[in-house]
Symmetry: C2
Amino acid sequence: MGRSFNKVTIIGVGLIGGSLAKVLKANKLAKEIHGAGRSRETLELALKLGVIDHMGQGLVHAVQDAELVVLASPVGSFERIVQELGPHLKKGAILTDVGSVKGGLVAKIEGLLPPGVHYVPAHPIAGKEKSGVAEASEKLFQGAKCILTPTQKTDPVALDAVKSIWIAAGSQVIVMDPETHDHVFAAVSHLPHVAAYAMVCTVAELNAGADNYLNFSGGGFRDFTRIAASSPEMWRDICLMNSKNIVEMIDRYQYALNKIKKAIHREDGERIEKFFRAASDVRKGLK
Amino acid sequence: MGRSFNKVTIIGVGLIGGSLAKVLKANKLAKEIHGAGRSRETLELALKLGVIDHMGQGLVHAVQDAELVVLASPVGSFERIVQELGPHLKKGAILTDVGSVKGGLVAKIEGLLPPGVHYVPAHPIAGKEKSGVAEASEKLFQGAKCILTPTQKTDPVALDAVKSIWIAAGSQVIVMDPETHDHVFAAVSHLPHVAAYAMVCTVAELNAGADNYLNFSGGGFRDFTRIAASSPEMWRDICLMNSKNIVEMIDRYQYALNKIKKAIHREDGERIEKFFRAASDVRKGLK
C-alpha cells in the first residue's frame, strides 16, 4: 500500500472530494481528514456523515500542518485558492487536485507554490448524475481512469504517493502531459458539453403553435442533452481555461457537420450511409 | 373502446410492430393478426411468442381481406411496399404506419392507394435501447406521445379508429399536419442523430500516441452519442426523406455553435455563462 498521511485536507467536500475522503479512510491512508470549502452546510453534513473528521475555520487554518491537500472545488477556483493557501503549506506537503483542466493551469499553480511543496495534478474520470457529499462513495472511482499530468518539476516520490491513492481507489492510472490532457478532454468531454448546450438552445427557440418543439422530444434527445443540465459556472470556467483547444474541437465538429449536411443537401444516400456506418461501428465498439 | 378488426396485418414485426400487435390483442381490438416482412426468422419468432397468429406467404397474400394494415418496417421501405400491396387492399381497409417521416411521404402513399382504402399516418414516439420482437411489450407506448398526421383526404372515421388504438395503447394522441410533423422531428430527433454521428466521427479521428481519444471518454460522451449506434440504413432513409428540414436544422445548430465558439474564442465569460445557463435551465425542465 501507499504512504499514509497524518493530516489530509480536502477543499470542496462534494461528490468527488467526499468519495476521495472515503477512499483514504477505507484504505487507512489518512489518520485525520479536514474539510474546507465555501459552504458551511456541506461541511457540516460531511462531518455528520463521518466523511471528514474536522471542519476548517478558513482555508489557511485548514491546511496548517497538512501532509496532503486536495483541491476538489470547481476548477475555476483553484488559482485563487492556491494563491491564498500556498504560503501556508508545510514544507514537504503534497498538493493534488481533481480538476478537469490541466495545461496552463498546472504551470500557474506550480508558480504559486513555495519551494519544497509538491504539486501532483490529477483528473479522475468519474462522476454520476447526482452530486453532493451525500452521494459520496469509496466505490465511485472503481474501474474508472485517473489521469495524472506531471511536469518536469513534479517530484517523483510525490507522484508515486498520489498514484498509490488512485490505485487504492480502484482506478486505472494513466500518465499524460498536461497539454495532451487538455487536447484529449476538449474532444471527449468539453466539446460534447458545448454541443449539448447548443442543441438545447437550437431546439428551444422553435415553437409549433402553443407547443415548444421540446415537448415532442423523446428518449434520444434526452440522452443526448442530459449533460446540458450541468453547472453553467463550472463549464464557463472550463471553456475559459481550455479555450484554444475547445475552439479547435468546435471547428473540427463543424467540419464533420458540414460534410454530412452537404451529403444530405445533395441527397447522396451512399455518402450519408457511409458516414453513419463509420460512426455507428465506432460507437458500438464503446462499452 | 374502439372498433375491433377481424384481420390485422402487421408488416415488419419488430419492437414497434410487435408491441402494437400485443396492444391489439390485450385490448381485444383484433380477432387475428397476420405478420409479414423480409425476415422469415423474425416472423417465426413472433409466431412462437404468440405475438402474431399467422405468417404471410408474401405481402399480397398477407394483406388479403385485412381490415387494418400497419406499416412497421423501416420508413424507407414504405413507398415500395405500398406500390406492391396497394392494389390488393380490400375496399374499406385502413392502412396506417408507425414511421418517423411524414410530409411528402404521406402524399406519395395517398397517391398509391385505390379509392375506398383509407390511410391514417401515425408516429408513436417510443422505443428503447433494444430492438426486435422479443422485446415487444403492450406497455411500450404507455405514457408516450403518438402523433397522427391526417390530410384533407383522410377519412374521419378511419382517423377515429386509429386514434382509439393509440388511446388503448396508453398513448397521448396529438394531431398535427404532416409538414409540421417533419419540421418538429427534424429538430428533436433527426438533428440529434446527425449531430451524434458527426460527434463520433470527429473524435474517432484523433489519437494520442497509440490511444484513440475515445478511450478516454466518460459517461457524458457515451450518453451523448448513444443514438449514434442506431441503424445507418434507417437514418440514411430518414435524411433522404426529410432532407430540406434536416439541412435547415443543421444550419440552425451551426449558428448556435458559432455563437458559443465566438464567445469562447473571445474568452467572454459572461456571454458563455448566459448561453449555458439558458440551455441548462431549459434542459432541467425536461423530465
